[in-house]
């Protein structure tokens, strides 16, 4: 400075200070209280750090997102890493930060990791320790704040899925140092009295500090010791608590916990619907098959025009009878000729025996002539009897078949909705012609059409009561 023959300019001083300061504080770590905090639209963050007696201005460029993530607020104790820079135009120096971390959060984070390691090493998080959560709990034991959002969300979802759930609530503090002993007591009460099937430990979202009660070591041990299975649902999806790790089931949110607990009922509802579809499907197929068989059977000629069949058969009988009768005289003549021939041969061959033989032959001849007509008569009678029996047999068979058909028809009639109507039921149709099966398919004032067994009615809906 001795060489300086002239005064320094302001700029020269500031530049010299800048060079000197920035060389001296290239990397520092400062702890202090955030006394001022502005997040600029540009994404830069401006703040002041202070302690009991002094203040330091600072800036963190493009730090808005991180500041929000760490929930930076005025009054917060923070650790800041950065360097000291000088802003030449104003001759001011500031702490240019590369990171700002809340002191408490860092500490909590460390405690969380330590406890997680410790309990994990003890085997408290082992999958083999997890008790199964009942698929259809009869009574749900809820431990949460009576006035919080969690209980509202939980009950709303439970109600939406199934109205008939039984929930027992033990109101408890869910944040602050008083909370863990209350939560533990509630778990112990449910276990002692066995007054529920599953315990749900829940609270809505909040800051790390708000949720801290669920990272309590004693609470974790109480959950592990619980005889009843425990569901933990703390905060939002991204929040994890020690209670989540040690519980038998961790739900991301109170809503998710409710969904999980009615899963069994939901599945049963679906199973019942499938069964109904299968039953009606089988029956419809069956009826369709019977209907087809009935159509086929009733279109068979023997059944549609039975008299034709009988007529044709009796015609055949007449024809055969006639043929038989016309053949008989010819048969007699042939025999006669044969006899004449034998007679002439006999007479030629044995003239000596002529008389005796002749007499004998005369006798045979007369017998033959007597027998032949009566033989024809007998045959004719037997044919007549057969012709008479045939239609009778046919009629009997017809009767039997008609009987069977009638039985099929009666069975089919029972499937016909119309036959149900005659028993006093009625079908309601809406204006579109669709059957109204449930109360909530129609509305007050709707005009409906009722089908009865023997007629139809136009009716109006006065009120709708869903059951």
């Amino acid at each position: 400075m001795e060489e300086a023959q002239r005064p320094l300019t302001v700029s020269e001083v500031n530049r010299a200070v800048k060079t000197s300061v920035e060389r001296s504080f290239p990397q520092i770590w400062v702890r202090g209280e955030l006394s001022d905090l502005t997040v600029h639209a540009s994404g830069h963050v401006y703040f002041s750090l202070k302690d009991a007696t002094s203040q330091l201005r600072g800036a963190a460029f493009r730090y808005a997102q991180q500041a929000q993530q760490m929930r930076l607020e005025r009054g917060m104790e923070v650790d800041v890493c950065g360097r000291i820079t000088v802003y030449e135009p104003r001759g001011e120096y500031q702490l240019q930060a590369s990171s700002i971390t809340p002191v408490g959060a860092g500490e909590l984070n460390r405690l969380f990791e330590e406890l997680k390691l410790k309990l994990g090493a003890e085997g408290l998080f082992d999958p083999s320790r997890k008790r199964p959560i009942p698929t259809m709990p009869r009574i749900i034991g809820l431990i949460t704040s009576w006035s919080g959002a969690a209980i509202q969300d939980f009950l709303r979802v439970l109600n939406r899925r199934f109205s008939g759930m039984h929930v027992r609530v033990i109101p408890s503090l869910v944040q602050g140092a008083e909370a863990p002993p209350k939560l533990i007591k509630a778990i112990e009460y449910f276990n002692k009295t066995q007054s529920c099937d599953v315990i749900v430990l829940t609270r809505g979202g909040g800051s790390v500090e708000d949720l801290w009660a669920f990272n309590d070591e004693q609470l974790a041990r109480a959950i592990a010791a619980s005889e009843l299975p425990v569901v933990s649902a703390v905060g939002h999806e991204r929040d994890h608590s020690i209670s989540d790790f040690v519980a038998d089931y961790a739900a991301a949110t109170p809503t998710a916990a409710a969904e999980f607990l009615v899963r069994g009922k939901a599945e049963l509802g679906e199973r019942l619907e499938t069964i109904e579809q299968r039953m009606t499907g089988v029956m419809q197929l069956r009826v369709a098959n019977l209907h087809r068989r009935y159509e086929r059977a009733s279109s068979c000629p023997m059944l549609s025009h039975p008299e034709d069949y009988v007529n044709r058969l009796s015609q055949q009988v007449d024809y055969l009878g006639a043929r038989l009768l016309s053949a008989l005289p010819g048969l007699a003549t042939a025999r006669r000729q044969r006899l004449d021939y034998l007679e002439s041969r006999l007479l030629q061959a044995l003239p000596g025996l002529a008389t005796a033989r002749r007499q004998r032959l005369d006798y045979v001849e007369s017998r033959l002539l007597q027998v032949l007509p009566s033989l024809a008569t007998t045959r004719r009678q037997r044919l007549d009897a057969a012709a008479e029996r045939l239609p009778q047999a046919m009629e009997r068979q017809m009767e039997e078949r008609t009987h069977r058909l009638e039985r099929v028809a009666v069975g089919m009639k029972a499937l016909n909705p119309k036959s149900v109507l005659t028993r006093g039921y009625s079908i309601l149709l809406d204006s579109g012609g669709h059957a109204v099966r449930r109360a909530d398919e129609t509305f007050e004032g709707a005009k409906l059409h009722a089908l009865l067994g023997d007629g139809e009615l136009d009716v109006a809906v006065e009120s709708v009561k869903e059951s």
Binding site: V167, R278, V282
Partner: protein, 81 residues
Amino acid sequence: MEENKKKEEKQEIKFEEALARLEAIVAQLENGGLSLEESMAQFEEGMRLNKLCQAKLKEAEQKIERLVRKDDGSLSWEQKG
């Protein structure tokens, strides 16, 4: 309360029984081999059971109770109105 619990248990078992019966009926219907009259009877029983089960699932009464400490210091479940 003890009685209530027993009653609920009984209903629960009835539901399970009904469901098992229902599934047996469907299997029987699907296997065929039943006369028309028999399968009509089975079908009717199945539909009745199905309705019963659905109603049981949905129509059970909602109940929300809260643990309160009474004046004498004892704890009891109080129904939320």
